[in-house]
Amino acid sequence: MRAYKTYIFVWLTLLVLTAATVSVSYMQLGVFNAVAALIIASVKASLVALYFMHLRHEKELVWAFALFPIAFLALIIAGTLTDTLFR
């Protein structure tokens, strides 16, 4: 029963964050619109991974499998930008 309660709490938080990201998008914040959207999306993604995908109960090896590709993606995007931004 406690597991269901946690899931429902996470689900409600995800819905609130979705409403938040939609409302923030109507404000004129310039570059901070993108920053806010990405921060909220990352909080939502972390909640899904930690609670729904059970990452918080997993061992270090599973964490490594989950985090390694994210670091690689960051490297790919950053590496590409060092080229395309300065052409």
Binding site: Y4, L14, S25, I40, K44, V48, F72, T80, T84
Partner: protein, 200 residues
């Protein structure tokens, strides 16, 4: 008797070991999935920085309501999968069946809304060839929709296996692995929605 319980202990250890390996397997697969979407996210970043005015103007053509409703649908479908898995771990087969059916229903509504969006855009002449923004929009949401379809195929298989009595309190590895995949499909949309619909 001692031999029997020893065998049983070994067997359950074997199942637990198999579950650990299956989890590593799905996370390794998700790593390749992230790289598959990663190329598109990189292209999005590069072009959004270079053609800010185009992205801003074009993203206003997307229907925010449809996008937001689809976000809510996927979040709800993640919840129903999570509850289904918690239920089978408590031995509640009927709840798992219900949750899998609900998830499939939500996934179908997601695709139906996506269909409405695509037909609206095509009706307005906004095609993948129209401009860079719509190329990326169709490619990213299309690849995601293929993943929704693949997830639905996996969920349907799990529903059929559950009906055949393949899962129990002791054994539910395939359902849990399918669940992790389904949550990943939700995760990708969590980023696609703000990137395409909200910030241009």
């Amino acid at each position: 008797m001692a031999e029997y319980s020893e065998k049983k202990a070994m067997a359950s250890e074997g199942t637990a070991g198999a579950f650990e390996k299956a989890k590593l397997g799905i996370w390794a697969f998700l790593a390749t999935e992230l790289m598959l979407f990663g190329g598109l996210f990189t292209a999005y970043t590069v072009y959004r920085i270079r053609y800010q005015a185009l992205f801003h103007e074009q993203h206003l053509h997307l229907n925010r309501t449809f996008g937001a409703v689809n976000t809510v649908i996927l979040i709800c479908s993640s919840l129903s999968v999570a509850i289904g898995i918690a239920a089978i771990k408590a031995g509640k087969l009927a709840v798992l069946k219900l949750c899998l059916a609900i998830t499939l229903g939500l996934a179908s509504s997601f695709l139906f809304i996506k269909y409405l969006e695509y037909s609206e855009h095509i009706g307005n002449g906004e095609l993948p060839s129209s401009n860079l923004f719509f190329s990326l929009y169709y490619m990213m949401t299309g690849l995601h929709a293929i993943h929704v379809l693949a997830g639905m195929a996996a969920l349907t298989t799990m529903l059929l296996l559950t009906n055949r009595g393949a899962f129990s309190k002791e054994y539910s590895t395939p359902v849990e692995i399918t669940g992790i995949y389904w949550h990943f499909v939700d995760l990708v949309w969590i980023y696609l929605f703000p990137l395409l619909y909200l910030i241009g």
